[in-house]
Amino acid sequence: MPRLLSFAMFFAIWWTAALFAGDAKLPPPPAVLTAMMAEARSGDLFFHLGATLARVTLAFTLAMALGAAIGYLMGRVRLADRLGDPWLILLLNLPALVVIVLAYIWAGLTEVAAIAAIAINKLPTAVVTLREGARALDASLDEMATVFALPRWSKFRHVILPQLSPYIAAAARSGLSLVWKIVLVAELLGRPNGVGFEIGVAFQLFDIPLLLAYSLSFAAIVLLIETLLVQPFEARLTRWRPRAA
């Protein structure tokens, strides 16, 4: 219920602002909806949304898997941490635009280049978060697992993973938003499809309803992923925690 109210407020503010700013600067919700419907009817909307979503999924999975593995290693093995730390700082501070442009120059305007560039941007934040998680692992539970001779996989699944899961969730949440922001830049600069490409087109034509139609559609998808996937998953993982106020 509060969520719906929150949505209603968003549209009310938008509509009011549109009245003051004028159609040319900020079209009201119905105009954007019309543009959205038109794009949907032609199939373009779904094609471009699908292309972007596929890139987000691939880059996100790649970065999370690699980032989690590297972060865990750096959190557990001192040598790995000392070797990896300078690289990590470099990657963390490397602007997304530089990575994308370099990837396109070196690997051509290809899908592989785009996805690799997006993943490289997301990678260091996943590493940092998971490293923190691995450092915070409870040594006393580790000893318990050792004494009771838990098999490696069982220990990982029941002792280590649950301790890392809040960190994985945090990395996933911040990572999803980061990937989604960067994928548009990559598409704008070097892909012939996707939401970023369409927004580039809308920008050249100064077609604000089209621009908003695409960005809001994708925002809606992200919201859906959050409510239908991330939140239920988190709720399941934390159900053992006594309810906090």
Binding site: F148, H158, L237, W240
Partner: protein, 242 residues
Amino acid sequence: MRLEVDITSKTFRNAAGEQHDVISGVAFALAAGEVGVLVGPSGCGKSTILRILAGLDPDFQGRVSRPAGARIGFVFQEPRLLPWRSVEENVRLVAPLADEAKLLALFEILELKAHRNHFPGELSLGLARRVALARAFAIEPEFLILDEPLASLDVALAARLRDEIAMLMGGRSMIALLVTHDVDDAVRLGDRLFLLSPRPARVLAELPIRTPRSARGDAEIAAIKLDIMRRINGDPAKRDAS
């Protein structure tokens, strides 16, 4: 099957880089079916000895020989349960091959039947200890280690849990080692008591109790306790640590 321990020294280095002697000479042996008890004042290094015996701390001078590949059941002082797994899952996890009927009996004796699906965060300390005990017994250990299993429980609860532990240990042929600062618990549960000095720990005296656990009367227990107090303090009067 036999446990032989000869720890000549163990030192710790604290954060400031100072060296502390924790153990200065602890040697004893236990046979299967025997319950050994390390009795000593708080902070004398008892838990450190247990960690060494369980193989968790290889950094010491001396020698520990325990049956090769022995299944170890460890009841830690803080229960060390997995907070994200239910009571039953915590037990089953370490003993995936445990016999169904035996598990049921274990839950029955430790009064855990009503709590099988609870999470450890929902349990009192007494209950959490019971889960830790169930976990240690579920693997049918060959070497059982109990670190202050009755500490910080009220008297009545401690007595009940002590009886349950005694019941579980009876009829099992394993090496069991219990650590406590409570002389009463030591005399009621142990077959062979080792009195430890304050830090750095060394064995002051070894005290076998010949009467079987169940046959020990109050008078005999009182007599043994008095003997222990005399050995620890040097004066037989007044002081009663229980």
